[in-house]
Each structure stands twice: as structure tokens, then as C-alpha cells.
Symmetry: C2
Subunit: 336 residues, 2 copies
Amino acid sequence: VTNTIDWADGPDGPAVVIVDQTLLPHSEELVRLGSVAELVAAIQRLAVRGAPALGVAGALGVALAARTSADPGADVAVLRAARPTAVNLARGVDRAAAKLAEGPDAVLAEALAVRDEDIACSTSMGRYGAELVTELLGPAPRLLTHCNAGALACVTGGTALGVVTTLHAAGRLGAVIASETRPLLQGARLTAWELQRAGVPFRLAVDGAGPFLMARGEVDAVILGADRICANGDVVNKVGSYAHALGAARAGIPFLVVAPESTVDMGTKSGADVEIEDRDGAEIVGSVAPAGTPTVNPAFDVTPHDLVTAIVTDRRVVRLDRGETLAGVALGEVRG
Amino acid sequence: VTNTIDWADGPDGPAVVIVDQTLLPHSEELVRLGSVAELVAAIQRLAVRGAPALGVAGALGVALAARTSADPGADVAVLRAARPTAVNLARGVDRAAAKLAEGPDAVLAEALAVRDEDIACSTSMGRYGAELVTELLGPAPRLLTHCNAGALACVTGGTALGVVTTLHAAGRLGAVIASETRPLLQGARLTAWELQRAGVPFRLAVDGAGPFLMARGEVDAVILGADRICANGDVVNKVGSYAHALGAARAGIPFLVVAPESTVDMGTKSGADVEIEDRDGAEIVGSVAPAGTPTVNPAFDVTPHDLVTAIVTDRRVVRLDRGETLAGVALGEVRG
């Protein structure tokens, strides 16, 4: 299995190599990004996306700047601001940039550490999350997920989808409903592709059907990733997540958020303090709506903490439904 | 303005004529349906859709059967079952079919009465609804609507969108957010087209954004149509409506349902008793998801009555939020 994002250093010079997610599921192509400008463009057109993967992209991008750029400081600033909502991008940039004074090799070593930690995080989240799901829902849970929180959102493995594949491998999964995730259809294009390749039984549904499928008794829990988790437990994630959370609360089923500690932002008090990226209306209008149709296109939404049952990271499970808080639950070990 | 559906009787023989809604917004074409088989096919591929329009289609279809069919009874049965969820289709069929014994002219007269009543209903709903919206929200309400509840869902005018255009004409509308309505995008294709032609200020959003836009304070009320309203006030409407209702309840804004009395089905106790049409997965998968992706594709959902603020018909306003019931509120006049 190819890593979603990685470092390459060969005769053509240094580069960040990504699986171009805009071409999936019809074509699986690696793209070599030899400059920070190319990497920023790839981030902005979502050729690489997902909070953990963006963290790695940020770190590797700084390593690329250190090797190739005449003005690494300026490149780093542009990269850091390429997308505003997920905290991981800025964090990955900052970690690697802190080594700039020590030279390109030190920067690269730090960036590769970010990459390797992400791989370890996925494994650990899969273990913590699978245990929680089994404890809450027994041996054959039917889970609904939104957007893509799989290997394609990380280096490999996944956050929420890592839990799904861990459960599947252990014979402890019922089935999955993947929400298609308009406007860019990461659920239909990426999650369906990953689930199909993993042999996980699943069905695809439109986003608007989620709460109704929960009400009809076809879903035992919602499980999804996060782009930023605020200090009070508010979860910023792909637009449509909040609607699923409302559906889960009404149906009385758990709403589970799976993300690495690098997504937890104790410096941001609540969801109201997060800049929500508004993206180009062409994503919605496409060739379907009348020409000139105006849009409102927030890429993310905020799920208030009272709708979140638990937050699962690579180092702990925080049971918000039991009154636990991010500030109050100590970090545990990263599990291999 | 052309009627969405109408009767034509010329040198080519009798026919039901519709605006083919699958071609909008790019092409506005009238299609002549000279047999019940053609009409049924048009209904099933949603070339004509919307509960009130389906009622008229049912009635005109029986008139067509009476003129053209060797076995009108069999044709009527097929037509009646063409789509299961909206009560209007079966009701329109039944009204016209009750005249079959009196001959084709009597059937046609009844079918044209159904058509004319639908036109009058739209005007009346617009008046009742606009008054309610102004009363609840003042002179510049920002409304979110889902699917298409406009002229294209009726003969002309509209249900929820009729209220919107009535408000706009009176200078008492702020703006509209149209929810795109996957999988068939009636919001993006049809509602956007109608609002643009009417000069109503609007923006298009993905379905999953609705509840978040409400939480963010960009919506003062949700207003939409219905395919069937049950005796207890449960509302069956296009899938995604329930998610918007949950969003409205959480945001503390009204959720308003506008539909003619012919959509009220006192013979069906609650939403649990309604057959929800499951449609072909190809509508979701399209060319986007991997080949062979399985789906779950309910075309409608159920909004429980406790989430409904008011039901507006052509003859009354039933304030569920004040404890009023469909059984308890008397019919008023149809307002011209």
C-alpha cells in the first residue's frame, strides 16, 4: 500500500509525493511536488486533504523549502496559511520550521518524525477506538461515517476509518454507511474506494439521508474524524457532520470523533473561535445549477460538545457523555 | 408562464403535456404524453414530480385512459402505483376514476377541476403562508427551503416557494437559501431556476450545510413542502427535510410546512405508516463512486410532528407549536 503522502529524494531533487485524491477512484496517480508553490496548489485543490495528512504536508513542505527555496521564511508563511480550518497544517509547519536554524537535514528529520508519528497514531487510534465501539455497541455495530477519515486523510491507516478497518479485521464490525459528502464527494469517491478495497460491507447514502437512516434504526453509531477539536470539546469537521450529530442525539445513538492529539487545540476555546473556510461556489454549482447562481459554501461546520459522546485520540478516550473533559483526562500511551 | 402540467386535445389526439423537469435548467421543453404508459414513465423518471403536480398528473392520466385505453381500469391501477409516497397521486387518480362510469367527458371535466383547484390552492397557500411568515418573522425574513416546492411542483405558483414569491412581491422577503437536494438536485436545478427567474435574492448550499447555517444565524425559518402529511402532523417530504428540522429545532427557529389539503392524509396515523420509496442507487453513484458501490437511497424522510412549527394549507394554518392539531382546526376559505 502506498502512503498517501511521503518524502522523495532522488536524482530529480527533493520532492513531496502524494496520491492525487482528485483523480480517485477512477485513477490512482502519484504526483511529485518539487516546490512549495506546487504543494500549496495541491493543498488548495484538495489533491491532498484530511487534517492529519495536512499536518504531514506542512512539515514536509518546510523540509522542501529548506532544500529548494531562496526565501524559506516566506514559503513557510504561505504554506502555513494554505487552508485555515484544520489546526494540523499550521502545527506541522511550525514543528519543522522550528528546526530551520539547524539546517535542512534537521528540518527533514523533524518532518519525517511527524510522518512516522502519524503512522503510529493511526494504529493507536484504531485500537482505542475499536475497544470503545465494541464496549458501547457489541460485536456487530452498524456505523455511519462522513467524508473521508481513512488512509487517504493520513499517511496510511486512518482516524475514524482506521477504527472501522480495525474492527473489520477483528471480526467485530456489522456494516458501514458512507455519507457521500457534498460538494466534493469525498465519501463517494474516497471512503467508498477504501472500504471496497478493504472488503468492508458498506452502502453509500446522500448526506441528507443520515439522520433519517438513524431514526429508521439502521445505524448504531456515527463515527468520523475532525479538523480541529476545541478546548471545550466542540468539533470542527467537514460540513454535514453537525447534521449527523443532531440525528444521532435524536436517535439516542453515540456520536464518536476520532482524531490524533495533533488535532486537539487547547488554545482555541470553542467552535465559535475557529475560522471556517468558505470555498468557491463552483464546487456546488458545477454544471447543474443555472449560470450565475450565487452560493454559500462553508467547507466545515461545528458540532457543539454536548452532542459528542466521546473523543478518541491516539493517547486516550475522553467520554464527554460522562462529563469528562479534554483538560481533565490525562494522556495515555500510544498503542502499537 | 407555461403550466408545469396541462391537458391538450388537438389534431394529434388527447395528451398530457408537461415541462420535462429532467432537462431543466439548461433546456425548457414541453413533452407530449399520448398514453398512460408514457405518463407513468415520465412520473417514474421524475420528468414530472412534486406532490400537487402528481395529483394533477393522476387525474389527467385517468382522463387520458378514458379516451385512449382499451382497458382503462388496468391503466388506472398502474398509474395509481407509479410512485408510492406522495398521497396526491393516488387521490388525483381516484377522483377522476370515480367518474369513469359517466364517460370520458365527465372524467376530463373532473381532471380539469383538479387542475384548476391546484392553481387556486397555490394562490391561497401563498396568502396564508405569507401572513404567517410576516407575523412570525417580520418584514425581511431569511428563509431556507429544500427540494422544489415551486411552480414546477404544482401546475403553477407553488407551495412553500409560492409563499416565498408572494412575500417577495409584497416586499416582505429578506433572502432565500436553497438546499441543493441530492441526489437529483431539484434545489440546484429547479428551485434555483425559479428563484432566478423571479428575481428573488438567493444562495445555493449543499444539504449538509443547512443546520450549520441555521446555527450560524443565517436563517430565520425553514419553509418547505410535503409529499404526505399524516394525521398526527408527521410530515413526509424529500429526504434531507428531517435533518433541516433538527437544525431548526436546535437553532430555535420555525420549521414551516406548506402543502395543499390534498396532501393531508387523515387516514394515515403517523409517518411510520407511510411507504418510503427507495430509489435506484445509480442516482447516487453516478459516475463518481467506484463501480459496484452499493447504496441506500430513500427518496423521502419523516419529520416528527414535534419538530414542526406550523402546517400551512390552502384552507388553514395549523400551529402545532401551540398544541393545535389537524383534527382540531377547522377548514377555512380558499383565498383568492
